[in-house]
Symmetry: C2
Subunit: 288 residues, 2 copies
């Protein structure tokens, strides 16, 4: 089964937990809405790609690790879109969760998706020692002091530590995706951190470029938000051409950061081919 299908199947099974009579139907509907239809799924695909490179001899655990990362990502989008943060009306071309279901259910949907990430991990009880390592890696990437929730909280500070802001808000979950994939396959996860962080930085830079120079309809969310909200953006820093070069450079650094492992060559090819999808066609043409 290809990794995209594995991810969608595992996410479907996780969301189905909420779709029973005992669960409030509004919450169940909002959770499904927040997770489907699929976005790029770039983090769980990275997780499974690293697991494959390390042998992937416990696919149930790698699937759980991959979707725990994606569920945490979806949760952060739901909470980041709330009126007290970005007050975003749209996401992936549709009304944001709080616009579609109201603010109370949006808060609870984020909470429930965070917890569902850990429920998904808990299901992988048959490999308890690896599970403990995956749990540590995943929980750190979303908590304090250096996870995505802490990253978002820098937006509430009068003086932002930009390095910690980016590393926490974006890099942490990418690092965890790579590390959890390795840990799920029984490999030492620490050597995989740089690969994940570098891919995360490439992805964040591409996101900055889309925000600064992309087309709102193509991207499915409003553009120019970083300027409006006063957030750091690599295009402001380096210009468009410089930002596009930076993405290429980061992809090369990511490839160079692949640790020794049985599937290193395949992983390298995958990262190079995936990197071509980082930017919308028009912007990619400029880069070429």
């Amino acid at each position: 089964m290809d990794s995209g299908t594995r991810i969608e199947n595992a996410l479907q099974a996780a969301i189905a937990r909420a779709e029973v009579q005992a669960c409030p139907p509004g919450l169940a509907a909002a959770m499904r809405y927040a997770v489907f239809p699929r976005g790029a799924r770039v983090r769980p695909r990275l997780c499974l790609a690293v697991a494959a490179a390390c042998g992937d001899d416990e696919p149930t655990l790698s699937d759980a690790a991959a979707i725990s990362i994606e569920l945490l990502h979806c949760a952060s989008l739901v909470h980041d879109d709330l009126p007290c943060f970005d007050d975003a009306d749209t996401r992936r071309g549709r009304p944001s969760v709080h616009r579609a279901f109201g603010e109370p259910l949006a808060v609870l949907t984020g909470d429930a998706l965070i917890v569902l990430a850990f429920q998904a991990l808990a299901d992988a009880v048959h490999q308890p020692r690896r599970l403990a390592q995956v749990l540590m890696t995943v929980s750190r990437s979303v908590g304090v002091p250096l996870g995505i929730v802490a990253g978002q909280a820098w937006e509430c500070e009068p003086r932002v530590d930009v390095v910690h802001y980016h590393r926490s808000k974006t890099g942490a979950l990418f690092a965890a995706a790579a590390m959890a994939g390795a840990a799920a396959a029984g490999a030492n996860d620490e050597p995989w951190r740089i690969l994940g962080e570098t891919i995360g930085e490439a992805y964040q830079s591409a996101d900055d470029i889309r925000d600064a120079a992309g087309d709102a309809k193509e991207i499915g969310k409003p553009t120019g938000q970083d300027t409006v909200l006063g957030r750091p953006n690599v295009v402001t820093e380096l210009g468009l051409a410089g930002a596009l070069r930076r993405v290429d450079q980061l992809v090369a650094e990511a490839v160079a950061a692949i640790p020794l492992c049985p599937g290193a060559a395949d992983l390298k090819s995958l990262i190079v081919s995936e990197s071509k999808r980082l930017l919308p066609p028009k912007l990619a043409q400029i880069a070429a």
Copy 2:
């Protein structure tokens, strides 16, 4: 070390994770504010009491289980107090978290405390098999379909299933407290569910009585909120005298539900003595 000290020490260590330079100071301060000074800590004390009754041969894991439950409870209070839910100005006699730190940090504080609960569990890696069971029990009690987040989401439904509402919103975390204590000590946790749920129901009934007949200053939060917010309350259902009798009856049921275990007699004494603290002195006098 007595259980109260163990709980406070473990909570201090958990919150200290946020109190480093890499973490946004506002988030760290709000997390500390949400967890200290101590409330009744009734759930983690139940957890440690059950662990003790089952032998408590892995006290690090029981401490982690106990504080994971308390952190999830604190997180739920922070989110429940938000303007889009109860819009509560005060909690434990002080401004609620969103009044003291603003709504964005209140949302993130709840998120960070949920994750911290799982980070605390992840630290107990040296007992991976038991950890996996504790993780499953704790994550289910706060997620879908029957955890506290699902319980809160019933408040967003046009028709509330009152049985599922109470079981999820209050009972689930009490049941998890008892079950996680047993699992941390290596015992089968399922037989401990009824004890936890029954103590949870006694506690909820006492809370209803305080809300309906208590003194706001003594309790540290506004009274009469259930009537204002149209929430079910046992005093409305049974009258004050009936509600007080119901608490006594539930405490007796809890004692009768203690499974066979080495420390059953001590646990019985503890539940009986703790039950005397369920109600403020004036209301307890009426009951007597």
